[in-house]
Every structure is written in structure tokens, then in C-alpha cells.
């Protein structure tokens, strides 16, 4: 079996994230990392591989700038077997639609029984790439799994929806995305870190995937950012201490003043 895990390189959420002059996310000026939510996808793939106990391969795939290799390296350190890094200057500024096109081509080239994704990227947070990939690849979409079981050629997930908890079932090949409830991602061990250095990482460009520069990037985007603005910081509020026991009364006074009561 072959499992392809899509992982994204994102700016650190605790750093000062911002935009560059062309309104794209600044991925160079701030520290980047493997999106924390994609660690759950890597972990799930490793669990499926280990449970299968056969020659199942876990390949991690990322589309992103040169630095994005760090996301692959971290996944290999966790235990993935191989990496595929699609990098091309023309990809800069791609929206989810173009990103899903590049990912889909790369997955087709690999061939996968299971495609695993995270629930959202921590920078864009659109949560649409997995559904788009399923659409493009014609695979069953089994997304937002909070519990995943692979039973022969059947995949079953628990999906905690807004109104109900559902069990979704599909046959391989399949696209699965997992939430942060699905598992507890492992930390790379020293052995894992050493082993990762020797694992193969394929570097691909658009032309390797048979794609044209005109199909991706900012000019091919089907949406346009008109402008971006930093939100003014919230004006400092009133903070009172309850040391004298009046905190609750002052709070209720405030709420009443704002007509919440």
C-alpha cells in the first residue's frame, strides 16, 4: 500500500505573521515550520503503516518554496519513508484551486491508495484543499476524521459535525483528512532524526508534472486580493482586581452598562 501525506510549510503562528507587498503571505520573513495540524496526518499515516505491518510506504508531499523542505524533513524524522517537494517560482501566489491542481498532479504521478491531509493549514485555514483534491482525483472524500480505522480495503472515520456525529465509510483508494482529535503526533526520536538524513526526497518542478506556469501562481488565480490591512489593536480595556471582593459587582455593572442584561 502507498500512503501519500500532504503537508504544508507555514509561518509560525506565534510569530508576527504578515503579508508581502503583493498581498501574499510572507513565507520568507518569518520562521516557518511543518503546519502543526499536518503532524496529525503524518502520525495517522505512520499508524496505518505500522498496523499493516507490511511493505506499506509513507510518502510526504509538499508544494512550497525552497524552505518548505523543512516540513518534509520533520515528517521524515517522525518516520515517513520518502519525500516529494514540488517547488517552482511560478507557484508563488497560488490560491487553493491552483495548489490543489499541483498536488493532484503530483499524487497522480506517485499513485496512492490513501491520500492523507490535515484538517486545515494553520496559515490559510481554508479547509478546502482536501475536498478539492478528492474532486480532482475522483476519490471518495472522507474528511475531518476524528478517528480513523482501515479495515482491509475499507476506511471508516468518525466525523464530529455541527449537528451530528457521523460515521463515514468508503473503499480504497480514498482521500482522508484528520482533525487534531485523531491521534497524538509523536516527537522525532534521535534515531529518527539520524535516519531522516538518508531518506530520499524528490525535487520536482511544474514541468516534471506536465503543468504549465500559466496554470498556477497569482496570475492564474480565480480571485484577487484588493487590499490587506492590519487591524488596529483593540483599545486597552478596564481591568479590575477582585482582591477587595467587588470584582463580580463591577463586572455586572459593566455588563448592565453595555445593555447585556
Amino acid at each position: 500500500m502507498k500512503i501519500v501525506v500532504c503537508v504544508k510549510y507555514v509561518p509560525d503562528a506565534t510569530a508576527n505573521r504578515s503579508f508581502t507587498a503583493d498581498h501574499t503571505v510572507d513565507r520568507v520573513g518569518v520562521d516557518g515550520m511543518l503546519s502543526e495540524l499536518d503532524e496529525y496526518a503524518v502520525e495517522e499515516a505512520l499508524k496505518i503503516r505500522d498496523a499493516a505491518g507490511d511493505d506499506t510506504q509513507v510518502v510526504v508531499l509538499t508544494v512550497g518554496p525552497e524552505q518548505a523542505r523543512a516540513a518534509i524533513l520533520k515528517s521524515l524524522q517522525m518516520g515517513a519513508d520518502e519525500g516529494v517537494h514540488v517547488s517552482d517560482d511560478a507557484i508563488h501566489g497560488s490560491d487553493a484551486i491552483a495548489t490543489s491542481l499541483v498536488l493532484a498532479k503530483a499524487i497522480e504521478a506517485q499513485g496512492a491508495d490513501i491520500v492523507l491531509c490535515g484538517m486545515a493549514s494553520t496559515d490559510g485555514s481554508m479547509s478546502v484543499v482536501p475536498a478539492m483534491l478528492a474532486e480532482r482525483l475522483g476519490l471518495p472524500q472522507v474528511t475531518f476524521g476524528s478517528e480513523v480505522t482501515v479495515d482491509g480495503s475499507t476506511v471508516r472515520v468518525r466525523r464530529d459535525g455541527d449537528a451530528a456525529t457521523e460515521t463515514i465509510e468508503a473503499s480504497l483508494p480514498v482521500l482522508v483528512s484528520v482533525t487534531d482529535q485523531a491521534n497524538e503526533p509523536r516527537y522525532p526520536s534521535f534515531k529518527g532524526i539520524m535516519a531522516a538524513k538518508k531518506k530520499p526526497v524528490a525535487e520536482l518542478t511544474l514541468s516534471d508534472l506536465g503543468l504549465d506556469a500559466g496554470e498556477v501562481g497569482m496570475d492564474a488565480a480565480w480571485t484577487k486580493v484588493l487590499d490587506t490591512q492590519e487591524r488596529p489593536p483593540r483599545t486597552a480595556g478596564t481591568v479590575v482586581s477582585d482582591e477587595d471582593g467587588t470584582g463580580a459587582d463591577q463586572l455586572v455593572e459593566f455588563l448592565a452598562g453595555q445593555k447585556f442584561i
Binding site: A13, M119, V128, E166
Partner: protein, 318 residues
């Protein structure tokens, strides 16, 4: 006038508040038309009419509800092809965004997710989004195909306008390819009697500081008629169900009032509540980052402050 399609968000015909908001937004852009998928129309009819739906397209087929997302996207693509709407508005929840994503690819249309405002513009609707945990706002527009926009709850005040709500059944064909992810089982969530978290005007949340006792949080919420939320620390500890988690990997809320109690204010929590109109916190640590966000804060123990405040609110209500 061009039709603006609004996918009705409902549970067995009970229409969610976001649909009224979307119909209100649709009216700014053209003629509001509701798209009702599934059964239960009888219960939904009045709400759709009351918030201005001029037409209701009814798509009722078991194939549309027995499988995850894909059939709905297929049906909407067929409807778009037939009706050539000016835009499609969908509620920004997990399923809504997935339908929108697939629909965008099927119809070669630009997609904008998580809009907090949509206004008419010279070249079609322009949207406002709030990104990076609310640190930035982005204005954008769709440049190709039919704009498909998912809109967050509380992005507009629903305006009651009587619409004609004339009904038209629309036949869809669902391909076998769309019927591969089967919903084998569905357990509806238990009703709490409190307002729906993402729709509530007031949300009171508890975190690790509750120490596992949510009673004071719930009692205070009930005195205010609020929904109850929780931080991930509280959810991960098993103190409160995941469905009530506020934040990056939980729900995004944007109520009139958000009360954070025993919550430190980590960036991932902020991502789910930072756009709330008024923010209040109770935390015993005066250095807690949540105080950087508040309009009003109390440095104190939630186990003493909340019960007192609950009594005081109840007393005021008489």
C-alpha cells in the same frame, strides 16, 4: 435581476440563523433565491419567506443526503448551469466550505471562504475576511466564473423582508462517482437548551482554570442566556465536549459579548474569538495574555467571581 443562490443550512427543516443572514446579504447583491436540499421543507418555508427568498429551488433526493458532500456539490453545479446565478452564498462551516471547494472546481469559478462581510462592487461582490487570528483584514473579489462565497455566522443582521418564496422543484442526477463516501451512521447531537455556539449573541467559555468544574460557567451563561464554550485545554482534559471548543481547531465565534474565564488567551484560542464585539475575561493571573484583548477584565478566582456575578445578574433581572 440576477439570482443570488443561498444554500439553506438546516437540520431536518429547522433553518439556522446563518441562512437568514445569507438571504439578507443576497438581497444587497441581487434577487435572493434559497436552495433547499433534502427533506423538511414544510418547516423551513416560513423562515425562508420571512427573510426575503423570492424563490425556493427544492432539491430532494435520498442520494443527496446519504453521502458526504460530493452529491450536493454535483447538484449545485447542475443548478448553476441551469440558472446562471450572479453568485452563490454558502454558510462557512466544515461541510459548507467543502461543498464550495468542489463546486468551484466543477464550475471553474473563483472561491472565497470565511467572508465576514460581502458588499456589491462594480465587478461583482467584494468580500472582507479576517485572517491570522484576526490580526489582519483582507478585501477580495472573484475574477473568474460565478463568485462562490462562504460566509461566517454573525456577518450580517438578518432583515425581515417578506419574499414571494415561490417553489420550484429541480431534478438532479447524482453520478455513481459522487456516491462513494457513504454516511453509514448519524447520531444527532443532544440538545442543550442553550443557544447554538456559533450563532449565540453571548458566549461564556471556560478553560483549564475551571479545574474541571464547569458549573459556575454554565450557571453564569444561563443567567445571560448565553452559549457555553471551552478552550482546548478543557476539552483535551475531557471536561467539556469537543463540539464546544472555541479556536483554530474548534468553532469560530463572533458574538456581541465573549466572556473568557480561566482561559489564558493563546493565539489558537484567539483565532476563534478575536472578532467578538465586546470581550470580557476573568482570570486569576493579571499577566494572562487574554487581558490584552479585553474591554473589561477581572483579576480573580472564577470560582468566587462567577457565582457572585450570576446572583447579581439574576437579581437584576428580578
Amino acid at each position: 435581476m440576477t439570482e443570488i443562490l443561498v444554500l439553506v443550512d438546516h437540520v431536518d427543516g429547522t433553518v439556522r440563523k446563518t441562512t437568514a443572514e445569507l438571504l439578507t446579504i443576497a438581497r444587497r447583491l441581487g434577487e435572493p433565491v434559497a436552495v433547499f436540499v433534502g427533506s423538511g421543507l414544510a418547516d423551513a418555508r416560513e423562515a425562508l419567506k420571512q427573510y426575503g427568498a423570492e424563490k425556493v429551488y427544492v432539491l430532494d433526493s435520498a442520494d443527496l443526503v446519504d453521502y458526504l458532500v460530493a452529491p450536493k456539490a454535483e447538484a449545485l453545479a447542475q443548478l448553476m448551469e441551469a440558472k446562471q446565478p450572479g453568485a452563490v452564498l454558502i454558510a462557512s462551516n466544515a461541510e459548507g466550505k467543502e461543498i464550495a471547494g468542489r463546486l468551484a472546481i466543477k464550475t471553474s469559478s473563483g472561491l472565497i471562504t470565511d467572508a465576514v462581510d460581502v458588499q456589491p462592487g462594480d465587478d461583482g461582490p467584494t468580500t472582507t475576511q479576517s485572517v491570522f487570528a484576526g490580526g489582519f483584514t483582507v478585501n477580495a473579489a472573484v475574477t473568474r466564473g460565478t463568485p462562490i462565497i462562504t460566509v461566517k455566522p454573525n456577518s450580517a443582521t438578518p432583515e425581515p423582508v417578506e419574499g414571494a418564496a415561490s417553489e420550484e422543484a429541480f431534478e438532479v442526477t447524482v453520478s455513481d462517482a459522487a456516491k462513494t463516501a457513504r454516511i453509514a451512521e448519524s447520531k444527532p447531537r443532544q440538545a442543550t437548551g442553550r443557544p447554538e455556539l456559533t450563532e449565540a449573541a453571548i458566549v461564556v467559555s471556560g478553560g483549564r482554570g475551571t479545574g474541571g468544574n464547569f458549573e459556575p460557567v454554565e450557571a453564569f451563561a444561563d443567567s445571560l442566556g448565553a452559549a457555553v464554550g471551552a478552550s482546548r485545554a478543557a476539552v483535551d482534559s475531557g471536561w467539556y465536549p469537543h463540539a464546544y471548543q472555541v479556536g483554530q481547531t474548534g468553532k469560530t465565534v463572533s458574538p456581541q459579548l465573549y466572556v473568557a474565564t480561566g482561559i489564558s488567551g493563546a493565539i489558537q484560542h484567539r483565532a476563534g474569538m478575536q472578532t467578538s464585539k465586546t470581550i470580557v475575561a476573568v482570570n486569576k493571573d493579571e499577566e494572562a495574555p487574554i487581558f490584552e484583548l479585553v474591554d473589561f477584565g477581572v483579576v480573580g478566582d472564577l470560582h468566587t467571581v462567577l457565582p457572585k456575578a450570576t446572583d447579581a445578574v439574576n437579581a437584576r433581572k428580578g
